[in-house]
């Protein structure tokens, strides 16, 4: 396959960026999107040019490091991560636009790499349990009803990639935060911090400068892990419950 790529190039956080056009040839439809970018970078290096910076780690769809808005879609046209997107989703001769996640809470570091530490700080605000852990406890020690376990697992699938923020017209982090809140709030292990977790994580989310939810639903469409929009509804419910409860305790 021969492709035309229009890639966002930006020297550093303070520099102005722009789209640059590149031609790549000899792309196999079995390559992943990142392997296609590797091919481009090898050529750029041989030509003595600066390779395109992009994030990646596991390349198995499980770590959440890869990103990229491809032709306007976070993680491209398939519901998967960019590392698991294959070039068979494109046609010979296509022009492909590649841009970084766009949100003021995710500033560009270089080219297609953005700073996602805002997510880490949301996790630090409450995405943990305070019980001492150690070796894995006996599985039957704390019974969890099957529906709750399923719900927790569904939310635990979030890999923190940030596609939800990138796709949201408001740059909101509601889907990510709701996945993390719901994951722990439905489990008995997460019960001691049930109220503080949701209040603190939502407050941190606001603090980081993410937008609010207008229920456009773009996040859930973009999420490679299928976190559903209704997770946001569940988090709103938890937030209202916690606000009432904390008010009663005063």
């Amino acid at each position: 396959m021969k492709l035309t790529l229009r890639v966002w190039r930006q020297q550093n956080a303070d520099a102005d960026g722009a789209m640059s056009t590149y031609e790549v040839d000899g792309i196999s439809s079995d390559m992943s999107f990142l392997e296609m970018l590797d091919t481009l970078n090898e050529e750029l290096i041989l030509r003595g040019e600066d390779p395109v910076a992009f994030d990646h780690d596991c390349r198995e769809g499980i770590c959440g490091a890869c990103s990229l808005v491809i032709n306007g879609d976070a993680h491209g046209p398939e519901r998967t991560t960019t590392c698991q997107l294959h070039m068979r989703s494109f046609k010979d001769g296509d022009t492909i636009d590649v841009e970084p996640w766009r949100a003021s809470a995710f500033p560009v570091i270089k080219d297609l790499v953005v700073d996602r530490t805002a997510f880490d700080r949301i996790i630090q605000a409450g995405g943990y349990i305070t019980a001492p852990t150690g070796a894995a406890p006996e599985a039957h020690a704390t019974p969890v009803p099957k529906p709750d376990a399923d719900l927790a697992f569904e939310h635990a699938e979030c890999i923190g990639c940030g596609a939800c923020v990138a796709a949201c017209p408001n740059g909101a982090a509601m889907l990510f935060t709701s996945a993390k809140v719901n994951h722990l709030n439905v489990l008995p292990q997460g019960a001691p911090e049930r109220e503080t977790r949701v209040l603190d994580m939502v407050a941190q989310m606001d603090e980081e400068g993410f937008g609010g939810c207008t229920l456009a639903g773009e996040c859930a469409t973009a999420c490679p892990k299928g976190i559903p929009l209704v997770s946001i509804t569940s988090m709103n419910k938890e937030w209202l419950r916690a606000t009432r409860k904390v008010a009663k305790q005063r």
């Binding site: 003021s104 305070t130 796709a167 017209p169 740059g171 937008g211 229920l215 509804t233 709103n236 419910k237």
Partner: protein
């Protein structure tokens, strides 16, 4: 050390502060004020349809609105109570909408070069629709409540004739019908949104909520538009 975190004792701000300072809380203010306005609009729409039963019944209904609650309430007290609640709801709704929209726009300063218009369709219609509704509410009150911008002589206590006057002008019909279409779109997304904001939406209820939102939007728009249509067709004169 671990438990110290869970049982932290630092003081949290008041409930009102927590709600107003949080994006989720402010959205709750929007949802609650929106539902209050929605309930009022259902009653208002039903009341308006009495115009089809003639000047006598319509004007008597207008008079009754001022005497509801008597003798416990004085003349017009109930009406003023409703007006105060509505003004508070409109202001709370509009201020939250403005502040939340500013936050949203600031959170996404640079646009994608490769554009996908569908992404913000609902959000944009809510914002434009909201602005249209806000302007409409001001005009509507000045037209039929205070009479300030009313075409022809505004007569206190004769709402039937006032309504006929308004809808005998082309601009009265245009403003009103455009606003009611905006209202329909606003409620279609707004009613369902409010359910999500207030945490009453769920997977199993989603279809039902969307249906109710659509039906409410359609009934309110059609019910309100029936009044100018009545005047335009001469059924009401």
């Amino acid at each position: 050390m671990y438990m110290a975190l869970a049982t932290r004792t630092d003081r949290r701000p008041s409930i009102a502060r927590t709600v107003w300072d949080s994006s989720v809380g402010k959205k709750t203010v929007m949802a609650v004020s929106g539902v209050i306005m929605l309930l009022y609009l259902v009653a208002h729409m039903i009341g308006n349809l009495k115009i089809y039963f003639g000047a006598g019944e319509f004007n008597a209904y207008g008079h009754w609105l001022r005497t509801v609650g008597e003798p416990f309430m004085h003349y017009e007290w109930t009406l003023w109570l409703i007006r105060v609640v509505l003004v508070v709801a409109v202001v709370a709704h509009a201020v939250s909408a403005y502040q939340l929209s500013r936050r949203d726009i600031r959170a996404r300063p640079s646009k994608y070069v490769h554009k996908k218009p569908r992404a913000s369709y609902a959000t944009r219609t809510m914002r434009w629709g909201g602005i249209i509704l806000g302007l409409f509410i001001v005009w509507h009150v000045l037209d039929l409540t205070t009479g300030t911008v009313h075409p022809g002589g505004f007569q206190e206590g004769h709402p039937y004739q006032n309504v006929v006057d308004t809808f005998s002008t082309w601009y009265g019909n245009v403003i009103y019908i455009v606003a009611m279409l905006a209202l329909g779109l606003h409620i279609r997304h707004g009613f369902w949104s409010a359910a999500q904001t207030l945490g009453v939406g769920s997977r199993t209820r989603d279809r039902a909520l969307k249906t109710v939102a659509g039906v409410l939007a359609l009934l309110l728009t059609a019910g309100f538009i029936a009044v100018p249509v009545g005047v335009m067709t001469g059924v009401v004169s």
